[in-house]
């Protein structure tokens, strides 16, 4: 098993763990943590392909991951602000109880 | 055997020890020994400096406050750190029953590790840097940011409302002051074109007339250095920014529930990160290990670094003894409304300095660009508040 396959399988496991948590946990903040884990798994994929792929001097993988980290941080901030605002309304962070659109 | 050079003596010592062991040990073990020979002196020297600083600080603060410092243990109290160390080691380690045991135990460890890691990229002398990263400055700030999580861990795991309040204030303060800290270094990075501390020190070699080419002797460099030092003060939670651990306010802030050796570890981590950030300030603005005048080059480079470090430590102790503590809202206003705009303007000033030809007009323009906004912003922010005139009272 080459190193590239090792990193890709590691990233597949991280993605699956993040997906499992996002789908099954009840607390909205942990769902967000799962989403961040999935984004990180994808970033690891990009860097692994940059390292072991063709034309690493084009730096495509590295630049993509830099932008991905910036966008993920912005998305985490907005997502957590949304959770705080919803908490003020519903008094709970349980995703199963946030089921009505009435404000 | 090459001639002993006092400047390179530690580098030569390490090479000699490695050559002694080269015949005996296999190559991977030799690499490990080489790494250990770089790390152990750093830990030993800065831990000793920590012990020296505790007694310097207590006696210095005592004299500023018109009293003697500790003067019982040893001649003039100079063996006090030994007494403090023995006390910390033999004190009972109390952990509250409701505290979160694992996180409570891990918090001091997670705080000390980044405090020690950042020394890896500081150039302490000529050819004396543990690792020469291409992005060394980014490593320093990244690892420094990781220590904020440890502060939160300490405050939350104690299950004590004072500790949690202190931890939230400390994290808010550290996050707020990171931005002026990083922005004031970005102007240095912009003008030297590199993130490596070794190359930044080399960029400050040479003399322009009477003064050395250090960045602190330029208008933007001086403003940047002042901003950096104020932010470093706030990052290290030292007075006048020590509200998170203010003794008279929050018991002891986020390390209220810690005793004995763990308390000593917090103390150690705080002072070690203070030394590290002073070391970075010396590297970025004060020319690192370089002598101010070419005539003084016979003094070894590492001696210059430690002399400058001691100067900055004295400055920190002096500030602590002189200025009163800032309130939380004053602290945050200061960071976001005063330091951040000044740091951004400093970037612009640095760019103007780079593009104007050398001479007097450059100094005048950049000096005006630095002093003008400082005065205007200061007056503008104070306009709405009625602050009474300061009254000085002295002990008789």
């Amino acid at each position: 098993m080459t190193p590239l396959a090792g990193y890709l399988i590691l990233s597949a496991f991280l993605f699956a763990i993040g997906l499992g948590g996002a789908l099954t946990r009840r607390n909205a903040i942990i769902v967000l943590i799962g989403i961040e884990l999935m984004l990180n798994a994808a970033n690891l994929n990009f860097i692994a392909f940059w390292r072991f792929g063709d034309h690493p001097e084009a730096l495509t993988g590295v630049i993509f991951v830099i932008f991905s980290i910036a966008v993920a941080a912005a998305e985490a901030a907005v997502g957590l602000a949304l959770i705080i605002a919803i908490y003020r309304h519903y008094q709970t962070t349980n995703v199963d109880e946030m089921n009505s659109l009435k404000g | 055997m090459m001639p002993l050079d006092s400047d390179q003596i530690f580098v030569q010592l390490k090479h000699w020890l490695l050559s002694l062991l080269a015949g005996v040990l296999p190559a991977p073990l030799l690499a490990v020994i080489s790494v250990l020979l770089s790390i152990i002196p750093i830990i030993v020297v800065f831990a000793t400096l920590f012990a020296i600083m505790t007694i310097m600080e207590r006696k210095g603060l005592g004299r500023i406050q018109n009293r003697y410092g500790p003067n019982r243990v040893g001649p003039f109290g100079f063996l006090q750190p030994a007494a403090d160390g023995i006390k910390a080691l033999i004190k009972e380690d109390l952990v509250p029953r409701a505290a979160d045991q694992v996180v409570h135990l891990l918090a001091p460890v997670v705080l000390v590790i980044p405090a020690l890691l950042v020394y890896a990229v500081l150039p302490i002398g000529r050819n004396m840097v543990a690792i020469d990263f291409d992005a060394g400055l980014l490593f320093f700030f990244a690892v420094g940011a990781a220590s904020e999580l440890a502060v939160f861990m300490a405050g939350w795991s104690s299950r004590n409302k004072y500790a949690l309040l202190g931890a939230m204030r400390a994290v808010a303060q550290m996050v707020s002051y990171e931005i002026p800290l990083i922005l004031s270094t970005v102007s240095v990075v912009m003008l030297t074109g590199t993130l490596s501390p070794v190359k930044i020190v080399e960029a400050q070699a040479g003399h322009a007339g009477l003064l050395p080419d250090w960045f602190v002797f330029t208008p933007w460099g001086f403003a940047g250095f002042v901003l950096f030092m104020i932010s470093a003060n706030a990052e290290a939670n030292r007075s006048p920014f020590d509200l998170p651990e203010g003794e008279s306010e929050l018991v002891a802030g986020y390390f209220t529930e810690y005793s004995g050796f763990k308390f000593a570890l917090f103390f150690l981590a705080e002072y070690l990160s203070l030394f590290a950030i002073s070391g970075l300030g010396i590297t970025l603005f004060l020319g690192g290990w370089q002598a101010p005048f070419a005539a003084l080059d016979f003094v070894p480079s590492w001696a210059w670094f430690f002399m400058k470090l001691l100067g900055l430590i004295v400055l920190f102790i002096w500030t602590r003894g002189t200025l009163p503590r800032l309130r939380v809202d004053q602290l945050m206003n200061f960071a976001w409304k005063f330091m951040l705009p000044l740091a951004l303007l400093n970037l612009f000033t640095a760019a103007v300095w780079h593009y104007m030809p050398p001479g007097l007009p450059r100094w005048l323009v950049c000096g005006a660009l630095v002093a003008g906004p400082y005065v205007l912003l200061g007056r503008g922010l104070l306009a709405g508040k009625n602050i009474a005139k300061r009254i000085y009272r002295y002990a008789d």
């Binding site: 943590i33 961040e36 901030a77 | 992005a135």
Partner: protein, 165 residues
């Protein structure tokens, strides 16, 4: 498979699994911070220095702290007495295992994995800066705009409203 890679892989997967299964919210947040550090070590192992340090600075230094602040502001400090997983958790687990199976099968059956070891490419900070300023300057400006919008948006969403009742 080299030893550093194995250690990094074990630590990262253990931290991620802990983050998704622990009961206490703050423990989950600290475990995912550990997973971020493991990933930064993986980036350093792949000689992407700048990305590794940026990962620690942004994720551990900012996103993890955001998560614990949000957890404290929504009363996540006390461990919840109710069940940790939603009632239809087996459906989620099934989907997860299916996705994992497809991904691992795709990796193992692909021809790309038979690539030999190439020497580490050079990603000096100067080259990254050149690329960002010349070839990728438009995404850079757009990301700046995006971050400003996200900053203002997050503040407005989380602001306490002064509603006159």
């Amino acid at each position: 498979m080299s030893l550093p890679f194995l250690i990094i892989a074990v630590i990262t997967i253990a931290a991620a699994a802990a983050a998704m299964t622990l009961r206490n919210l703050i423990h989950c947040a600290l475990a995912v911070a550990g997973a971020f550090v493991g990933l930064a070590a993986a980036y350093l192992n792949l000689s992407a220095q700048f990305v590794g340090f940026a990962q620690v600075l942004v994720y551990v230094g900012a996103v993890a702290i955001l998560i614990v602040f949000a957890a404290l502001l929504t009363r996540g400090g006390e461990p919840s007495q109710a069940a940790v997983f939603s009632p239809p958790w087996f459906a989620g687990l099934g989907v997860t295992l299916a996705v994992l199976g497809v991904l691992v099968w795709a990796v193992i059956r692909s021809f790309l994995i038979r690539r030999e070891l190439v020497p580490a490419p050079e990603a000096a900070v100067k080259q990254i800066g050149d690329a960002l300023m010349h070839k990728y300057v438009l995404p850079l400006e757009v990301v700046g705009l995006l971050l400003t919008a996200a900053l203002i948006g997050a503040v407005i969403i989380a602001l306490k409203e002064e509603r006159k009742k």
